[in-house]
């Protein structure tokens, strides 16, 4: 139950990140409701174990690429919530100088090559990153997240094929949260498991419980080890669920409240807490402390972001060209 190689400190940190994700997004939601944030956002509440479990298998200088639903991946990879929040507020000190916003948060220095507003848009990039790693013999791995919906884009196909024939160090993580906006996986796919598509590229394909940090970690760890050893790419499907609507405008007519409730009963954070408690790694007080500290971090990030300066409109062209 306690995956080999994970220290108590690492597990504590994982739990902390899962809290940060949830709290960051709950805060984002209320800021939006208050009209402090414009645009749109895609919340990953309910999917925290997938993001954090996957990133837990990486070294700090490995790469990730992420999606429109990317806050979790970003925090999982170690981003600073205050710089994320500042970006969310469109501030100059934000990760993208206010130019990217929620859907494009990147932390290039931290190995996060960006959220992506385009479904499957990051998949070909990650294949190129894998190529780059291999050609420069960097010994790194590139992990790329995408949703179930992305697995029906042509880019998915071309990318997995290329990574397979060139044996690139890329781990493809399909976060199957059962819907692509309103499209249920049952309607969008003729197959039961998206990981079955690995057959078409002769790479390992596994499906795991995406709400179980350990299950995700173990599967990704195996794939990362493989990739680092030069044995090529893998496809991992994490089964999870988003508690919120697709984005702010979603009336959720395509699913029932009961379904949402049933998944909420499988809260990945509560699940991990139970696991840690049962394993005697943390006690209730420590759990509460972690949650409280996370809460404080998020509050501080809002204060930081609100106080920060907007980018100067006169600087608008900065960053278009190098």
């Amino acid at each position: 139950m306690r995956p080999s190689g994970l220290t108590a400190v690492a597990l504590q940190e994982a739990l902390r990140k899962m809290h940060l994700i949830r709290l960051f997004e709950e805060k984002a939601e209320s800021l939006y409701a208050l009209g402090k944030i414009h645009g749109t956002m895609h919340l990953s509440i309910g999917q925290e174990a997938s993001a954090v479990g996957a990133c837990l298998a990486l070294k700090p200088d490995d790469y990730i690429l992420s999606t429109h639903r990317g806050h979790g991946h970003c925090i999982g990879k170690g981003a600073e919530p205050k710089l994320m929040m500042a970006e969310f507020f469109g501030k100059d000190v934000g990760y993208c100088r206010g130019r990217g916003g929620s859907m494009h948060i990147a932390d290039v220095a931290g190995g996060n090559l960006g959220a992506n507003g385009i479904v499957a848009g990051g998949i070909p990039l990650s294949t190129g990153v894998g190529l780059s790693i291999k050609m420069q013999q960097l010994g790194k791995v590139c992990l790329t997240f995408f949703g179930d919906g992305a697995a029906n884009e042509g880019a998915f196909h071309e990318s997995l094929n290329l990574a397979a024939i060139w044996q690139l160090p890329v781990v493809y993580i399909c976060e199957n949260n059962r819907y692509a906006m309103s499209m249920p996986v049952e309607a969008a796919f003729p197959i039961a498991q998206i990981s079955q598509r690995a057959v078409a590229y002769n790479m390992p394909g596994v499906t795991v419980d995406g709400n179980d940090l350990f299950a995700v970690y173990e599967a990704v760890k195996t794939a990362v080890t493989r990739a680092r050893a030069g044995e090529g790419p893998s496809l991992i499907e994490t089964i999870t669920y988003r508690w919120r609507g697709h984005s702010k405008s979603d009336r959720q007519r395509y699913r029932t409240r009961e379904e949402v409730k049933a998944w909420q009963a499988r809260d990945p954070i509560a699940h991990l807490e139970q696991q840690l408690l049962r394993a005697g790694l943390l006690d209730e007080a420590q759990l509460a402390e972690i949650a409280a500290a996370a809460q404080q971090t998020i509050e501080a990030s809002v204060a930081f972001a609100e106080a920060a300066a907007d980018p100067d409109p006169a600087s608008i062209l900065e960053g278009v060209y190098a």
Binding site: T40, R99, M103, E153, M181, M183, R251, I316, L317, V320
Partner: protein
């Protein structure tokens, strides 16, 4: 005036004051077309139960069912390609690409197949399809959800490109596009969806390729497209108080483009400003300017012909930067005033 006549001609419309939003007008056109012709059907992402990312197709799934309002997987290449294939063999598909940005994934099927098939086959195939897509910035959705790519399609022989600015035009042009036997790219603007205007009940069409003078004036011809039409009209109101009268022309159909209406206008005003949201460099404005200065209007020109358009920048997220990236009413006022007053 012209509008009312058309409406009357189309079926004795009397409730001339009926107002709809632009989104409702589009929906009504879809509804009428699907009712009238069973070959018309829709396909796209989340257009069914969800009602479309902007609610445009709301209720159509309930009315016409899943066969004719087809939710697709996220597969923009085959959305376009399936529409072309169906159009070649007797259907009249109306495809939706959820944001114009994503049309970058459909380009091969639209441009190398849909647009060329008829010609490549010696005129022996017909590809009657409409591809609807919402464009434009102003929603805080940043660089990958704010594209205005109409200029690309204007450059493709075989395609038509329509870009309505009012609910009335949206309905009439969409019905005309669906009637048309060619592939038509129909560009809606997200910020226009909630704007209201007079829309007659019943079936009517606005002919493709007729520019319209949205406001007559003597001092400067402003050629504006899509969201820039209401902005130009607002600018005209402001300048009218200074005694400056703008003539605002809306091409409505960008391809085939009715340059004659603009030429006539410029012959009258002697000056022209072209306004669009898409980045200035390589935008549709170049086409408009080039048509103005190549022919009959040249000898009447009293000032440089200018473009006011988006900056050459991906659309930024920050609200103020986003506003800065594309022309606003005050920018049109400033540029128009400068041209009229010779302060260039």
């Amino acid at each position: 005036m012209l509008k009312q006549m058309e409406a009357v001609a189309a079926g004795g419309e009397t409730a001339v004051t009926r107002e709809l939003t632009y989104a409702q007008a589009v929906r009504e056109a879809l509804q009428l077309a699907m009712t009238r012709d069973e070959k018309v059907f829709m396909l796209g992402e989340d257009i069914g139960v969800y009602g479309g990312a902007f609610g445009v197709t709301d209720g159509l799934y309930e009315q016409f069912g899943p066969e004719r309002v087809r939710d697709t997987p996220i597969s923009e290449a085959v959305i376009a390609g399936a529409a072309v294939g169906a159009a070649m063999t007797g259907m009249r598909p109306v495809a939706e690409i959820q944001f114009m940005d994503f049309i970058t994934l459909s380009m091969e099927q639209l441009v190398l197949q849909g647009a060329k098939i008829r010609f490549m086959f010696g005129g022996k195939a017909t590809v009657p399809l409409v591809l609807r897509t919402p464009a434009g910035s102003g929603t805080g959705a940043a660089a990958q959800h704010s594209e205005s790519l109409e200029a690309w399609f204007v450059h493709v022989p075989g395609l038509k490109v329509v870009m309505p600015s009012t609910p009335y035009d949206a309905k009439g042009l969409l019905l005309a596009a669906i009637e048309d036997d060619n592939p038509v790219i129909f560009v809606e603007h997200k910020l226009l969806y909630r704007t209201k205007g007079h829309v007659p009940e019943g079936y009517y069409t606005v002919p493709l390729s007729q520019s319209e003078v949205k406001r007559p004036g003597r001092d400067l011809t402003v050629v504006a497209t899509s969201i820039m039409v209401p902005r130009a009209l607002e600018a005209a109101d402001i300048l009218a108080q200074e005694g400056i009268e703008l003539e605002v022309v809306d091409p409505r159909t960008l391809k085939p483009y009715d340059a004659g209406t603009v030429t006539q206008s410029v012959i009258k005003t002697g000056k022209a400003l072209v306004v669009h949201e898409a980045p200035k460099t390589g935008g549709f404005g170049g086409e408009v300017v080039a048509e103005i200065v190549s022919g009959a209007a040249f000898d009447y020109l009293e000032a440089p012909v200018r473009r006011l358009a988006g900056l050459d920048v991906p659309i930024p997220y920050n609200r103020e930067l986003e506003r800065t990236a594309v022309p606003q009413v005050e920018d049109i006022v400033r540029e128009a005033r400068a041209l009229v007053q010779g302060a260039y």
